[in-house]
């Protein structure tokens, strides 16, 4: 038997408090070091699924295991451990960056982990180096370009040295060069990646495997190239390659 998978989700159901069912029995396993794209139309439940993976939302029924930890909303200690292990980069960097300076924001996660000062300093600086933002460490987030803010948002999560990195629409609103720079950063990391995206070429570039989530269910789980070749599957899930592209 191999080591425990990074993420193991089984029969996950979730309904919002207003009764709206968002997830209807999601099964999902991601092994260590894999890079997986999570595709699906707007409102498919992608973000809802992501928020389950670090215990921000708790399932109505079903189970979520992150490595050796079984998430349980009553067990705060496990939730804390899981949040150190699973890093989420949210879609809007303005939601993620709230401290007065870039550096303090990057240091926020490591500080909450209760690390020693030197270690916080080391991790934060290293994370900023990885995304090429060391020079702007004392800037206020508001005065960075959108691409820079996205990179800082990635750094805030990298500083926690997560084993699993989850990105919600990482390429949205980026100019082509920022988009490529971000993919280079992501490819250089030695972590498990789950990437929520509508950007199919980006999914192809970064992830060998893709999942399609629609109406709260995983409707496809295959090699990205196979999924992108299956025109009927894409159409059924409101996914489209940019005009003129085909696999």
């Amino acid at each position: 038997m191999m080591a425990k998978p990074s993420v193991h989700v089984s029969a996950l159901h979730y309904a919002y408090p207003d009764g709206n069912k968002a997830l209807n029995g999601v099964d999902l396993t991601i092994t260590k070091g894999e890079r997986v794209a999570l595709l699906g139309p707007n409102g498919a439940g992608k973000t809802t699924l992501v928020m389950h993976l670090n215990g921000i939302l708790s399932p109505t029924s079903g189970s979520i295991d992150i490595g050796e930890f079984a998430l349980d909303e009553k067990n705060k200690e496990v939730t804390k451990k899981v949040r150190e292990r699973v890093g989420i980069v949210f879609q809007d960097p303005d939601d993620q960056l709230f401290m007065p300076t870039v550096y303090e924001d990057v240091a926020f996660g490591p500080t909450n982990m209760g690390l020693a000062r030197e270690e916080i300093e080391r991790r934060s600086t290293r994370a900023l180096e990885m995304v090429g933002m060391v020079e702007l460490r004392d800037r206020a987030p508001h005065h960075l370009s959108f691409g820079q803010r996205r990179r800082v948002a990635v750094a805030t999560v990298l500083a926690m040295e997560p084993e699993i990195l989850i990105l919600d629409e990482p390429s949205s609103n980026l100019d082509p060069a920022s988009r490529r720079e971000l993919s280079e950063i992501l490819l250089s990391l030695d972590v498990t990646i789950l990437m929520v995206t509508h950007d199919l070429p980006y999914a192809f570039e970064l992830c060998q495997r893709s999942l399609i989530l629609n109406q709260g269910e995983i409707v496809a789980d295959d090699l990205t190239v196979n999924i992108l070749r299956n025109q009927r599957l894409l159409t059924a899930n409101r996914l489209e390659l940019p005009h003129g592209f085909s696999f």
Binding site: P100, T101, D105, A107, F108, G109, D138, A140, H142
Partner: protein, 264 residues
């Protein structure tokens, strides 16, 4: 964004609205020392009865020295000081409106109590405005926040202030974008009939800000937030900073005592 352009800022004044970058001893002082010094100074000044006018001469001398030391541009400060005008107008009305014992200057008759109260208001408000102008002009918002943490202000207050500063800009931009979007569809503000549009814009802005608040909170939880912004950095303090900072309220206290002696 920042109207006061200066040859160099070392990036210090990026995103600052009030801070003016200069190399001065006042700028160099850590935020919390300035906070304590100005707070004590103002308390002393406010508690001094206006009749003890000799003390106020001292206070104004002290504040002038602080102002000179700060090397802040006088013209800019003068413009900022106009914030006091409404108070001055109010204070100038007091001698006419208050009752009690009256006295005449030429053809006008003034209330003694009102005059004293007006003078009291103007003098103390001016001192307060000077203090806050020096503080705001010489201290970055970041240094102020760090200062509040340092003097053990309840964490919740500091967090609220930090979030306010951070998201004021975001909300401002959002409001500007909504304005552009409104006008792009042919909207022109015309009198009272455009008010419903403004109120619904405000409502939308409120809802969006509320939702953003929730998202920010989630993003914080995801990184292990447990009640404090513990990564907010603090500044290095040397004993000479404390000595210099406390000289300021100390001189004020001295001035108070001297005034007391002369007054009695």
């Amino acid at each position: 964004m920042h109207t006061e352009s200066h040859a160099h800022t070392h990036g210090h004044s990026v995103g600052e609205r009030l801070y003016i970058h200069r190399h001065s001893f006042v700028h160099e002082l850590p935020g919390h020392i300035k906070l304590v010094a100005f707070f004590v100074f103002i308390i002393i000044a406010v508690l001094t009865p206006i009749q003890q006018w000799q003390s106020f001469v001292g206070y104004f001398l002290i504040i002038s020295v602080a102002l000179a030391l700060s090397k802040l541009p006088m013209l800019t400060l003068a413009k900022r000081a106009t914030i006091e005008f409404p108070f001055i107008i109010f204070a100038l009305l007091m001698p006419f409106t208050a009752g009690g014992e009256m006295f005449d200057i030429g053809p006008v008759s003034l209330s003694r109590e009102g005059s004293i109260a007006g003078l009291n208001l103007i003098t103390k408000a001016t001192l307060g405005v000077f203090c806050s102008m020096i503080l705001a002009g010489s201290t970055t918002t970041h240094s102020l926040l760090a200062g509040f943490v340092r003097i053990k202000t309840p964490s919740l207050f500091v967090q609220i202030a930090a979030f306010m500063i951070r998201y004021l800009n975001v909300i401002n931009d959002q409001m500007a974008r909504m304005k552009v979007a409104r006008e792009s569809r042919g909207f022109q503000a015309q009198g009272i009939r455009s008010w419903p549009i403004f109120t619904s814009t405000l409502g939308a802005l409120f809802i969006r800000s509320y939702e953003r608040g929730e998202r920010v909170h989630l993003a914080m939880l995801a990184r292990g937030y447990a009640g404090t912004l513990s990564s907010l950095s603090v500044e290095n303090v040397r004993p000479k900073h404390w000595r210099a900072g406390l000289t300021f309220p100390f001189l004020a206290a001295l001035s108070f005592l001297l005034g007391r002696v002369l007054f009695s």
